[in-house]
């Protein structure tokens, strides 16, 4: 034991030089790449690739069963001349605009109601959420029955109490069908809007309303000067999401009318599917889908500017 020549005590282990592998795992760039790889891989496979493929297909004449060749803007030139396509553009915008107004009008009203002290509040909130929990296709089928030319419960009821001699025409001609689908979309969209806005309402401090009460504000003035401006940030987010979901809607329309009668209720999404899959014209379907992009970019820009933090939300002094 007394033979130790080193100055360090014998029980201190010599630090080993790290091996190549250990050094690799210590390098930050390598770790960043390794850690990001799964997420990037998933996004590339399931988002970027299909999107890229869709955009590529829009510039080919591919049909089901035959590989296409690049044909430039030919698909878009064809669509530009196609009245059915323009009908779908019109109805998509109309559908989105009216349904959004309806959803937000009724949703805000419901949220304000639910924000009051009501008996059985939690049960009411659960009931409000129901339309949203049910899978869209199921509620679409329910609406299909409600709108059925022969078996509609509404027609039956109206005839039973004698306010109508004949069944209602819900989905057998263009305009009634358009309004019926919009109503189904509003019905389905209200819960999302109402619950989101209710969450926003609950962040407003009750003492602000008390202060406004003392300042002499009427109920309308309290809404106009307190509730609405304070709800605006969340309103903007919810509206952006709602516009995007509504504009890209597919299930309700496809399950109830399949774009009919005579293509009058086609949305861009249903028309793209109709042309691409049952019609077999993959290139043309893809071109219709791609033509939705400008509208969606616009909606996103809207959100970007509407969501920009207002001055009063900033914490910093700016003098």
């Amino acid at each position: 034991m007394s033979t130790a020549t080193s100055t360090a005590p014998a029980w201190v282990r010599q630090r080993q030089q790290p091996g190549a592998l250990a050094r690799l795992f210590d390098s930050k760039p390598f770790l960043i790449v390794v850690c990001l790889l799964p997420a990037v891989g998933l996004l590339m496979t399931f988002l970027t690739y299909p999107l890229g493929l869709g955009i590529w297909l829009a510039f080919t004449d591919q049909t089901i069963g035959r590989p296409g060749i690049y044909i430039g803007l030919e698909n878009f030139e064809f669509l530009f001349e196609d009245p059915i396509f323009w009908g779908a553009v019109f109805y998509s915008v109309f559908y989105t605009a009216i349904a959004t107004v309806g959803k937000f009008g009724l949703g805000l009203w419901l949220a304000l109601l639910l924000n009051q002290h009501l008996p059985m509040k939690s049960i009411l909130r659960a009931i409000i959420l129901l339309p949203w929990i049910v899978p869209t296709v199921l509620s679409a089928i329910a609406f299909w029955w409600i709108y059925d030319p022969q078996f509609s419960i509404l027609s039956w009821l109206a005839m039973k109490i004698g306010i109508r001699e004949t069944p209602f025409d819900f989905i057998n001609s263009a305009w009634p069908a358009r309004w019926s689908l919009i109503w189904a979309n509003i019905w389905r969209g209200i819960p999302f809007v109402a619950i989101s806005l209710l969450a926003g309402l609950q962040t407003i401090s009750p003492s602000l309303y008390e202060a406004a009460l003392l300042d002499g504000a009427s109920p309308w003035q309290r809404f106009r000067y307190i509730t609405f401006p304070m709800l605006l940030p969340i309103l903007a987010i919810v509206m952006t999401f709602s516009i995007i979901f509504t504009f890209t809607d597919f299930q309700l329309v496809y399950a109830i009318t399949r774009g009919g009668p005579v293509n009058s209720t086609h949305l861009l999404a249903t028309l793209a599917f109709q042309r691409g899959i049952p019609g077999g014209q993959l290139g043309e379907g893809a071109a219709i889908a791609v033509s939705m992009i400008p509208f969606l970019v616009f909606a996103t820009l809207f959100s970007y500017f509407a969501l920009a933090r207002r001055k009063w939300q900033q914490g910093e002094a700016n003098d």
Binding site: A217, I226, G315, A317
Partner: protein, 346 residues
């Protein structure tokens, strides 16, 4: 200006009684502080005067007019909330002008009033800021400015200083008192801090468990607390309240200490009260064992024991003793408070 009368006012939330018949008379221009521990009903009473809570029983009158059913905006009052309740999306100017805007006041009057309030409160350079950009003390001032512009008959303050740090609290305390003296507006102020109550009030209302324990001027409450609750609540450090009984002309505490009684003391004393600052160091005093010595500079607080009886003293002298050592103290007999078995002053 205005008087405020609260006459046997009761408040129930469901089956829970919060206030059991409360009477307060507030003279014109008076600064009244409602003080008490959390849950004593002081804030509820203030909110009932404001009209934010309805009145279960009794009546509240402002300037002789019963306001039980009058909506808040018609009571001619202004309130400053604990969290200030400033409208976050409005500038300081808009916050202060909001009530006038709702009343459709002409723009030049609005600007003039806002300027006047801002000048009084030193807010002139902040008028275009948003509440987020202000410090706690500045927000507090804006909340007061919002009250001032309305020229109310009564100011109501609901624990306005509890969100401020200690130093600012002392400063704002003086500012609020000074402002009230300048404007001469009747003011009702709620706090749980007895020092705020003592320093600001013309009249203090001590509340506990939905009842009024005592009403009086600050020094009255300090000098002659009506019962054990007020004795323990008013004054800092708190009064020594020692349970025990009278035996052989002296007070025998439960912990074993024997304390002298003032001449003519009744025999049914159950609690012996002496404020820490009314204990004096004396050669012929009672020997007490030092537990902790806390010098504050201006005075020295000493926790000690006589037998098993804990006792706190506050001395102007600098006490040099260490824990475990013995100190000789005696109570100033003219300042001893005696309470009967029911807790009332004898």
């Amino acid at each position: 200006m205005a008087t405020v009368s609260v006459r046997s006012v009761r408040k129930n939330f469901g089956s829970t009684a919060i206030l059991h018949g409360v009477d307060v008379e507030i003279a014109d221009g008076e600064f009244v502080v409602l003080v008490g521990p959390s849950g004593c009903g002081k804030s509820t009473l203030l909110r009932m005067i404001a009209g934010l809570e309805n009145i279960t029983g009794g009546e509240i009158a402002i300037s002789g007019r019963v306001v039980n059913t009058v909506p808040p905006k018609d009571r001619d009052i202004a309130m400053v909330f604990q969290n200030y309740a400033l409208y976050p999306h409005m500038t300081v100017r808009e916050n202060m002008a909001f009530s006038m805007k709702l009343a459709k006041a002409p723009a030049d009057i609005m600007e003039q009033e806002v300027r006047r309030a801002a000048r009084i409160l030193g807010l002139e350079h902040l008028l275009d800021r948003y509440p987020r950009q202000l410090s706690g003390g500045q927000r507090q001032r804006v909340a007061m400015g919002r009250a001032i512009v309305r020229h109310p008959q009564v100011f109501l303050f609901d624990e306005p200083l509890s969100n401020l740090d200690a130093k600012l609290r002392v400063q704002m305390r003086t500012e609020i008192r000074e402002l009230q003296q300048r404007l001469g507006t009747t003011t009702i102020y709620v706090t749980h801090d007895q020092i705020e109550a003592m320093t600001m009030a013309d009249q203090i209302v001590v509340m506990n468990g939905g009842r009024i324990e005592q009403t009086g001027r600050p020094l009255e409450l300090y000098d002659r607390p009506a019962n054990i609750f007020v004795a323990g609540f008013i004054g800092s450090p708190a009064m020594n309240l020692i349970p025990g009984e009278v035996a052989d002309g002296a007070f025998r505490a439960q912990g074993g200490a024997v304390l002298p009684l003032p001449p003519g003391a009744p025999s049914r004393v159950a609690t012996y009260g002496i404020r820490p600052e009314h204990l004096v160091l004396a050669e012929d005093g009672i020997p007490a064992t030092i537990v902790v010595v806390e010098p504050t500079g201006s005075e020295t607080q000493v926790s000690m024991r006589i037998g098993d009886t804990p006792l706190t003293g506050a001395f102007r002298e600098r006490v040099a003793g260490r824990p475990g050592e013995t100190l000789r103290v005696k109570p100033d007999l003219s300042l001893v408070h005696l309470f009967g078995p029911d807790g009332r002053r004898l």
